[in-house]
Symmetry: C2
Subunit: 246 residues, 2 copies
């Protein structure tokens, strides 16, 4: 994983295909990731057809990567397969509850990240779409996900056709705590966020949006309370329809 | 990541220390993982003291790795730091909702898995404790986690002192779907689970537990409906107390 220190999200892809053989190998290797009770509580829906990409795009706010990438992967928390297995084996599954969603979502996300690490090491470029959990019902309908299957991550994948700059990260001390959690004082915040706030691109971002601070870009534009609350309700509703919440 | 095909969870560790320098490097490198809006919505609490390990152990059903491992990492979904930043910058954070928990938990789990892949490539051994979400309130109390911080993963870490056999995995076809989700027929289940059910260790497991099928081990002993429902309620309650659910 020598690539880790130079990784960046890739949103533009060349015309070169991602072969079925390579994709299958990476998807297989990623399954070595630890999983709850060795149940592998995830499924991956592979989208290659233009028609299906076009159907998925609105759920991702029509970000161009969805239709431009040769491959789109929707990774799902999946307790349907394990529950079907149980019912075929004289066992009564009890996985229609919130904890089981969290367990399956964890399995799915850990699997996803090993896949990302492997794909990037192979030279592939990818973008993780956080939008997957914004309007999950649309994705559920498009992909035909049955009960106890819930989309949790989307990856657009292809060979890179751009080389964007590395993005900044907070210093280690800002997110690591020794023995117990030490809450943040205003002085801590100043120290930890100074570099991010001083970046030319972020200062420009604040200016063109007519804001006073970078944080206001997040609270007032990118991730607002109103949107978060509406999407929380949508996510809960989808979890109910998928059978994970009573 | 040549190690991926031979990885196994390690539950016994040698006396050799995990140096602060190595741990810091791996925790820093893992932060290259993609993160929502580059907010890095996670925190890591490092436990090295015997006293704190002993306090954490009951939350993990006293699995011996917790007290035996030189290092225990509790990775948390954290919207507290970002929200504190907002409040220090004349911005009103709106992250006290369920979607924000899902976003932060995703960030935390993706970060966790890159860390695991890096650590294993370094030769370290680790075990992922799924028990973190079983009784989260105990962990919250022991580590002093404030509102908008929720533990989602625990890693016990050290230099391996065992070399357990590789565990089985389902075939790729069982968890990959092309274009849309194809639900499982009883014949699919037979085909996909045949190898797992035929394993000598699993047959023995069924026998000594006086069960008819391997699936019954999961539904009747390891992950019962009753336990799942009780722990779902506990998880929801903890999410409320941490401010992620109204």
């Amino acid at each position: 994983m020598k690539t880790i220190n130079t990784r960046r999200s890739i949103r533009k892809y060349s015309d070169k295909e991602v072969s079925e053989e390579l994709l299958s190998r990476l998807l297989t290797e990623a399954a070595r990731t630890q999983t709850m009770g060795n149940m592998q509580l995830y499924s991956v829906v592979i989208t290659r057809s233009d028609e299906m990409k076009a159907k998925l795009a609105p759920a991702h706010f029509n970000q161009p990567m969805v239709t431009q990438a040769p491959v789109v992967l929707t990774i799902c928390a999946d307790f349907n397969r394990a529950s079907t297995w149980c019912r075929c084996r004289k066992a009564e599954p009890g996985y229609d509850n919130f904890l089981s969603f969290i367990n399956a979502a964890s399995d799915a996300l850990l699997y996803t990240q090993t896949f990302c690490n492997l794909a990037e090491e192979e030279g592939l470029g990818l973008c993780y779409l956080g939008t997957t959990v914004y309007m999950p019902q649309m994705i559920i309908d498009v992909l035909g996900l049955p009960k106890l299957v819930m989309p949790v991550a989307t990856i657009t994948l292809g060979w890179p056709d751009e080389n964007p700059p590395l993005t900044d990260r907070l210093p280690l001390a800002s997110f690591v705590h020794s023995e117990t959690y030490h809450d943040y004082t205003p002085a801590d915040i100043d120290r930890y966020y100074a570099e991010k706030e001083a970046l030319e691109e972020n200062r420009e971002f604040v200016k063109i949006n007519n804001k006073e601070t970078l944080a206001q870009i997040f609270t007032d534009i990118r991730y607002t309370k109103k949107d978060n609350e509406a999407m929380s309700a949508g996510m809960m509703e989808a979890l109910k329809r998928q059978g994970f919440i009573g």
